[in-house]
Symmetry: C3
Subunit: 141 residues, 3 copies
């Protein structure tokens, strides 16, 4: 398995429309048998606070007039939430989810304060080292 391609994803954004692509790309990577490391930082980390995923409904202000239509269509078509999409991909494949130590320190949060999909808290230096070895790294702003 040491030959698996590796993908790194930084999730910085914390709105529903920005979290979906992260979950979907991670699923796509699992479909391609890739290993995925996700680094949650700033607003992206806030979205993984215990209880936060179920309450998150905001869409980027840049597209707010299209937001309700998007949410409505997703509900009608029973599209799973970004969080369930990511959790399912993690259950099926090789995804590790890391919280940014600096953001966690800043807001005095510990591993226990996050949803259980979060595996650990690591520093940016460690994550950059992972990214340097990855085949693809995406920064999702």
């Amino acid at each position: 398995m040491s030959e698996a391609k590796k993908m790194c994803i930084v999730i910085f954004g914390g709105t529903v429309d920005k979290l979906y692509p992260a979950a979907i790309v991670a699923s796509g990577a699992v479909m391609n048998d890739m290993e995925v490391d996700i680094f949650l930082t700033f607003w992206g980390l806030m979205a993984f606070k215990k209880g936060a995923p179920g309450q998150l409904t905001s869409v980027s202000k840049d597209y707010e007039e299209m937001g309700p239509m998007m949410m409505q269509v997703m509900k009608e078509k029973n599209v799973p939430s970004w969080y369930d999409t990511l959790k399912q991909a993690k259950d099926m494949g090789n995804i590790r989810i890391h919280a940014c130590a600096m953001t966690a320190d800043l807001f005095e949060m510990e591993l226990d304060d996050f949803e259980p999909v979060v595996d650990d808290i690591i520093g940016v230096g460690e994550f950059v080292g992972m990214a340097a070895e990855a085949d693809t790294t995406l920064y999702m702003g």
Copy 2:
């Protein structure tokens, strides 16, 4: 030609200021004789709906106070639109533009509903496979 460097670009954002860099980076890649695969998703795909590029004038809300000045300067200097910049780069080089199948399905759009620069509709798994082989992948949020 199998030795050409490859670039993948995900266009997620759909405001004028976010679409310009995508078009300009794609042009820069063509100047470097690279092959470019662009994946349009969410608001980025909406920007390629038939008729949409010519009507799009919105700038990110984060910079809205500078937006009119930017648009004004671009008009005065006859800077080509983001869409014309991209189309011209595509005419000159090796750029393929793919619509995200999931977004297209969600909004019940088919290839015919998009501007003719869009080549096909593909799934995220296929795109992630392309990105895993690319020399550079940029996610333009």
Copy 3:
């Protein structure tokens, strides 16, 4: 030293919360002995105009209700500014900071109009060439 890993970062965004990750990731790359090339474009370049870093206080509108809390916590904990974080990383490591020629031309700015951390003004074609050779490229939207 020709074996050092290379990272490229495009800074497009120009709000405080978007500039921090760029500075922090660049620091993380220096910790990993990587060489870093940063390309400043659009709103990211505006943030490096002479005098701009010290005056910049805006947080992305998507998270504006959390912005004041974030700024307050950072002040209380004496977190250095994004600019000082970046400058310090540049003093310690191998970081080059390039202004996007097209944005500079558009707004009729020359090298002298930017903060002294900016090393030069280069075209997007040159930057894409750097990115094609880098181990990791991040587009910070």
